[in-house]
Amino acid sequence: MSDWNALSDEDFRKEVRAFFENEFPEEYKFLPRRMRWHECRDWYLKLSKKGWIAPNWPREHGGMGLTPAKLLIYYEETERAGVGRMPDQGLTMVGPTLIRFGNDAQRAYFLPKIIAGEAIWCQGYSEPNAGSDLASLRTEAVPDGDDYVINGSKIWTSMAHDATHIYVLARTDKAAKKKQEGISFFLVDMKTPGITLRTIRNIAGHEEFCQVFFDNVRTPKHNLVGELHKGWTIAKGLLGFERLNIGSPRRPLQAMEKLETLAQARGLMADPAFVERLTQLQLDLADLGSLYRRYVDKVRRGEALGPDVSMLKVWSMDTYQRLSELLIEAAGEYGAVEGEVAIGGENVDVLSPFYNSRPGTIYGGSNEIQRNILAKYVLNLPS
């Protein structure tokens, strides 16, 4: 395998750009929603074969081991070419977690399956009555012989209907003094008897998530990650990765590309009031990049992400929403039109960034919760 980090930034960018532009299927470019597995399977396998599926993983586990600067280039070019978002929980969440908290057997079994596209993961954290207050979750896992038996229900589980596996937080010790104690982290095969799904449509009408029901679902004991009752620590470690991932500039960048295209097409660059607001957002986005690289650097140096990474998520998603709102405003009457519209020779889907940017301030810990975390753990303000 090549050492991508040895290439100059420009050469690396050229190579990535050419590949994404030429190889990513035309019909899925700039899809206004997440890709379903049947739509992106071929692309996933193509990337996998090329050794490009896990740009953020270390090379020893089949990743590209990119430096922060190169990783950012990779993501920028993904957005530029309009490469859709795949069911990527295995790549962004499970892989990094197993690398950090798993054991050798779990790494040896699951990591290659993720790289090969044989294991597609979803996240079973939230429950109907445990959202922001996740630690109040009630799904239970009870040991029985070589297995744990899981009962309960998870909700808002993204792409569960495409997943082969789910990682689950379940209560293993109801007598624990604090609600954060006595929670464990399990890996579960979705084909296990007792799992049923109900799909849920999102605000844009897409089947994006599910409620997952667990009725006496057995998962073998070796699928417990880390120590028993210590799942909260892992979940928190993973939240760091999730916040870094959500905090990446790549989704706001995509909205910015649309906004710039629309502004040119409509001649808005001659309107100083508009240019002032656009420039503010361009700077908000450029500066997000600076902050993002600071955290990616930390991860690359092997440092754990602390609670301060929350600020990246707050800023990234707030910026994304502001961008999506200016896009609608810039479209004038077209700002009410569903789907693609032809404006000044360009086809723009005005509303999809609006829809796509809404959940970013809700999931992964809502932005209000992130501000609570920052106030308490970073600014050390009293409660």
Binding site: E276, T279, L283, D287, M311, L374, V378, L379, N380
Partner: protein
Amino acid sequence: MNEHGMDHGALLAQSVGDFVQHGADLPRVRALAQGRAEFDAAQWRQLAELGWLGVLVPESCGGLGLGLAEAAIVAEGLGRALTPEPYTAVAVLAARTLEGAAASPLREELLAGLAAGSRLPVLAWQEQPDDFGGLQLATTAMPFEGGFRVSGEKSFVVGAAAADGYVVSALAGGELQLLWIPRDAGGCSTAAQPLADGRSYGRLALRDVVVPREHLLASGAAARAALDRALDHAATVTAAELCGVMKRAHEMSLDYMKTRVQFGKPIGSFQALQHRAVDLHIQQELADAVLREVVAELDAGPDPAARARAASRAKSRCAEAALAITRAAIQFHGAIGFTEDCDVGLYAKRAMTLSAWLGNGRAHRARYARLSAPAAREAA
């Protein structure tokens, strides 16, 4: 790295911190409003002895020959302490301009003196507000056998209160010239325009000032290049100074929120204040992250267009963040924040003067937009 695992940047930051000693300068800063001098010669000598005035001055001229990274660390530390002396105006703006001038005995003498603290040159390039590059230039330099006769007016000259002379921009036959004019040159008069934070802008009136040919520092494209680079570098180091101002001001707010009790609880326990403090902290960290990247980018010597964009990015973010943080600090402190005795007011006013100088947030956003326009991007 030394044995404590600190790199030289951290060590430098520590020695700047030790030098300004927590809050020691504040009574001095407060006294400025009562008409005390904004320049303390003893303080300046110490800055020179520590080598900080010469951070950017080439070693051949007695300086340290380091980069903006180090200058930014010094400026951030001085910003935290609200040190009023014109560090950035002299040690960055004037030093970089002189560095970019053609080799001459005068250039070497001024640079060496600047680093040693014995000479205090400042740049007088601006005549109109919102003219960062000094392009609206009406000052003229009429050539004669022995040199030039310079006439015109300059505004917004930071450091003029203590300067012993000016690097003045002027047009001769449509060409930009940078000329050295000693403060006491015949026909040169300096008036002070008081600023919110007790410092002042100098306003220069130049009436037929005779400038000998040896005092010509640079002309034409070389003058333009030296000036533009110096301005971008000074705007960036001013952004660092603003970082110091905002960080200390926000610390003061957070300390107060932990101790001030209302409704039987510290006010910092109220979510409305917590979330506001967090949003400001995010602005502070964005400012810090941008500043570090821009400083590294500028030290790598990019092309002028990239340099200008980067500098504008740093100045606009740091200016706006410092204003937001220091203004909120007044609100977080309640009525006491509105008093003359409360230090947050000093920070708010310094944020105002540093934001306004060398282009405010809006001006740099507009400049960034101009430089980012498709035509400019292709040209770059």
